[in-house]
Symmetry: D2
Subunit: 138 residues, 4 copies
């Protein structure tokens, strides 16, 4: 089933002052960067290092981003990002994200699609075996 979660991760981080804007809340553009924290930490939990994978010749540019904003986040709040993968990656992978505040209110959710590229040629490639193995979906 495409809806069953293959893998998920929870990571907590604090809102920085410079991430707010003059509306007094976290600027909308910031969430794309929070999502990046989420997937980096999911890779780490899987025993993978995106930093190392990139050195080994893989690039994973974002090909699609969606964010739905329900409530604002504020400076110095401790936010929790829940990142999950529910579909077997092919030539790309979809990460889903939910961001919660300390009252456990869902404040933002969204997803990103990332492509797998050969860093040398910048051409698309299939999902590396190491990722499938880490996701236990060989």
């Amino acid at each position: 089933m495409s809806d069953s979660v293959i893998c998920s991760n929870q990571t907590t981080f604090r809102v920085r002052y410079g991430e707010t804007d003059q509306m007094g809340v976290v600027n909308n553009a910031q969430y794309a960067s929070y999502f990046e924290i989420g997937r980096t930490e999911m890779f780490r939990q899987l025993g993978l290092s995106y930093a190392q994978m990139e050195k080994d010749g893989l690039m994973m540019p974002v090909s699609e981003l969606f964010v739905k904003y329900y409530s604002p986040a504020f400076y110095d709040e401790l936010l929790t990002i829940e990142t999950s993968v529910s579909n077997r990656p092919t030539s790309r992978i979809c990460f889903n994200y939910k961001v919660y505040n300390q009252q456990r209110a869902l404040i933002t959710e969204g997803y990103t699609w990332l492509a797998f590229l050969n860093a040398a040629t910048r051409r698309p490639m299939r999902v590396p075996e190491a990722i499938l193995q880490a996701l236990s979906i060989k």
Copy 2:
């Protein structure tokens, strides 16, 4: 018709060094900020100042963001953002964006929904008359 463009704007800007990431291209999060340039300039073209509207008690937080990335953008490129509104605003407004590089290739497109809020109460409100008038859709 919901597909006919009510209003559109073209604005050109240059990619800054700090907007790139170690992939050597503009970081994905940056486009949400480019989209903000687009709608600010459309408002200016309409004779409206978002800065002034905010001082007058209106806030327009982003409630939804979508970005589709086709090709990368590079440091120092002159990009053109085309911003348009195709639907009559109600309690929210949708802006569509297309980002082109100097070869006129469409590199990114997307949209944002923004809510109209009373800045004092942070409660939703209907689209201000001044915006409908500026869009000539009274």
Copy 3:
């Protein structure tokens, strides 16, 4: 003595992907934001919340920033920022910062001066008593 440290704090954080630039290292502008993490955490350690102080009518804009870059920082590195105050605050306060990587190499150092402003009037004021008390330098 102006050189004896009144208060110091150590905080650890991870470099995000979007904080790098196409040189493959953390962009120089990012350190001003890292410094802000350092002073927020020092305030927290002192039992003060800058977020709360701002709600109570205090603003502390940066009036001077200095950064010396010795070595680059890389994506996903765990950096440690050491923040200290060595001078009794008057109408402004100086924070010193040292940023170390995981090999404990000093990669960046610097300082910021921040003014104390009355948020309502945006006029300068003297250091609040609560800050002197927290620093134990009444």
Copy 4:
């Protein structure tokens, strides 16, 4: 004389919404990025392209940054950055910056030192001849 200006440039740009913070003014970290606009445009005026120089194997990391903040800048303001070089570059180059608002008030000033690095080896090198020639200080 070290104080006579060898070269200077003026560039104008507009403050983006996401560049403000909850103090309602441009965030202090943003100026390092404004300074980068200034030196990119000075290079362009000299007939040099920093983007091209980097492709040709030169890197110019910032080794020192100083910023003095006199007055705040606001969303949608048109700022002017004046960038100048007053000293003959050696293995590094100093750029001075002054940022003015539309009332021509000096709101921020500062400088950056940048090193010349061989991009392949990341080792220091002397200022390239092309830069001395462009500055007419052969």
